[in-house]
Amino acid sequence: MSAVHDPELRLVLPRRSIRQHLVDVWRYRELWSRLVRKELHVRYQKSVLGFAWSMANPLFLLVVYTIVFSILGQSFAWFGIWVLVGVLVWNFVSTSLATGAQAITSNGYLVGKVNFPREVLPLASVGAALVHLMLSTGLLVAVLAVTRFQVDWGYLWLTPFAILTMVIMASAFAILLSALNVYARDTTHLLELVLLAWFWLTPIIYPFELVTQKLQNHDAWSYWHLLNPMTSLLIPIQRGVYGKAVIRDADGKVVQRLLPDLSQWWYLRNIGIVFVVSVVLFAVAIKLFDRAEANFAEVI
């Protein structure tokens, strides 16, 4: 036959190694970006406001929380910015997980008919959520610019590392959940509850120090809260964007403690720990996904 080109040999095996999974995902990065675009496109196709809707949600939450917390007397200066940071970051993780969990099941029409590395689907969900985060970050930047808010650049450089870690963590969970959801649709329902609890366990609309102080009052280790990986990843971002750890009155007296008044390295260390955990979790997720995917096409 024509020996013009020697096409590469592809193997279909019952199992693939973690490395092979990663290589395959890289080879299909074009598909990934297409699927991300598809997900965004399909979601906003028939809506007049389109992408503006992704801004409407955090803005609405911002208004609600600000009103509620003002009434409760738990509000503090520039509370809106504090909430906005938390909500935007949280929305990335919760959307990644919620859409990621359904990535395989809702694309059953593809899984049964075309061959491609299946983990691209949950990863595309994470990708779409990341695009949302980027867009809404634009909104945040606009708010900061308009209000001439003072950010703390000494801490702000931690944000990309926190986001990167969050992407790895969200990807790991999305891959795991997407596979689990194929076999047990209960996953989706359970996930809703877990996300609700997780939201309130993360210092998104209340300050981190509120919890530490309560724990100190009970003579407990005051940093239990950091065991929540989202906390470890969120507080460096809040520290950078919100710009201060404590609120002082005109005399320089501390009125309210928001975040630990510690160095960048303390914050970075926390990110580092979660990073290592996330990478391990990612490897585990791929491993389990590999076991599960053999039967995807049949079960769906």
Binding site: V12, K38, V42, N115, F116, A294, A297, E298
Partner: protein, 333 residues
């Protein structure tokens, strides 16, 4: 060079009632309320590069499972498949098309599924659209397409990305006759460079494109598709193994000479299959032991369900059919 080498592939399906909720799964944990079904067992397949192979088998014989394993959609329970080059599978035309996206977007996504770069698909895009004859509708959402348009776009994408291996599952039976013809021609053209695997439930128009056919039926183990062992209905037998394009090969039919008869067919050209729209030459030679006058020859064509498709008599066309004591032949076209 071999294009497809599958060694010892088996595929087990687990049959059970819907186990979609945790409660059900827990309830079943102890009972083990499921049955295993082996769709394929210990199957070896070797296909050379550039070969066109048809695989015959009834519904449920494992054709599609085999094809999906080769395509990588299903992972075999045991064994491995090696495929050389780019694989386009036409398991269902337009598979992977998202209804809410336009034809254009779907072509790009479909190409991405095959691992094709954006630049390459941009280069071929016009060919694809032209082949599918969808120039006017390419920016319409696919959900507004007719099923014929859908299928045309699916086929056009798959065939125009120049796959090294093309897996086709009974899809050539879709679309109108003209398009079918075009598809067959294109498959024919690709033949030299492309390995084609056709799955057929029965010999149809698509079968004529196959240079070699194997069937998945009994429990024998002949050459091209080797099945070591098989449960129920899977294994193979060779129907034909010539590489050349199928030419009607003469099959001798024994002369019909019973006591009462004075007239019998000695030989006829048996057609294996016919391409749609292709002229057919039929030659019937017959022999009479004594002079026959005033005879009429009738020809009836039946499809595989036994329905009469066409019928003609020598009488009706005014062809004389007098046989004088010896051999004669009758052609029709």
């Amino acid at each position: 060079m071999t294009a497809i080498v599958a060694t010892g592939i088996s595929k087990k399906f687990r049959m059970s009632q819907s186990r979609s909720s945790v409660k059900d799964r827990l309830a079943r944990r102890g009972g083990g309320d499921h049955q295993d079904f082996w769709a394929l067992r210990e199957l070896d397949v070797t296909v050379e590069q550039g070969e066109t192979v048809g695989i015959l088998g009834h519904n449920g014989s494992g054709k599609s499972t085999l094809l999906k394993c080769i395509a990588g959609i299903l992972k075999p329970t045991t064994g491995q498949v090696q495929v050389r080059g780019r694989v386009a599978s036409l398991l269902e035309l337009g598979a992977g098309f998202h209804p809410d996206l336009t034809g254009r977007e779907n072509v790009f996504i479909n190409a991405a599924f095959l691992g094709i770069s954006k630049r390459e698909i941009e280069r071929r895009f016009d060919d694809i659209v032209a082949f599918a004859e969808l120039e006017r509708f390419i920016d319409q959402q696919v959900k507004y397409y007719s099923s014929g348009m859908f299928v045309r776009l699916g086929f056009a994408t798959a065939i125009n990305v120049e796959p090294d291996v093309l897996l086709v599952d009974e899809v050539l039976a879709v679309g109108d006759e003209a398009f079918q013809q075009k598809c067959l021609e294109r498959v024919e053209n690709r033949r030299e460079r492309c390995t084609i695997l056709l799955m057929l439930a029965r010999i149809t128009s698509g079968g004529s494109a196959a240079g070699r056919s194997c069937s998945i039926t009994g429990s024998r183990s002949p050459t091209p598709l080797r099945a070591k062992r098989s449960e129920s209905s899977v294994s193979t037998s060779t129907a034909r193994s010539t590489r050349a394009a199928p030419e009607p090969s003469p099959i001798p039919i024994p002369a019909f000479r019973s006591g009462r008869s004075r007239f019998g067919i000695t030989r006829s050209l048996a057609l294996i299959y016919v391409l749609p729209g292709e002229p057919v030459d039929l030659a019937i030679e017959f022999e009479a032991t004594e002079p026959v006058t005033d005879s009429v020859l009738a020809l009836e064509l039946h499809n595989d369900r036994g329905d009469l498709v066409y019928g003609i008599t020598s009488d009706a066309i005014g062809a004389p059919c007098d046989v004088v004591r010896s051999e004669a032949s009758w052609w029709c076209r």
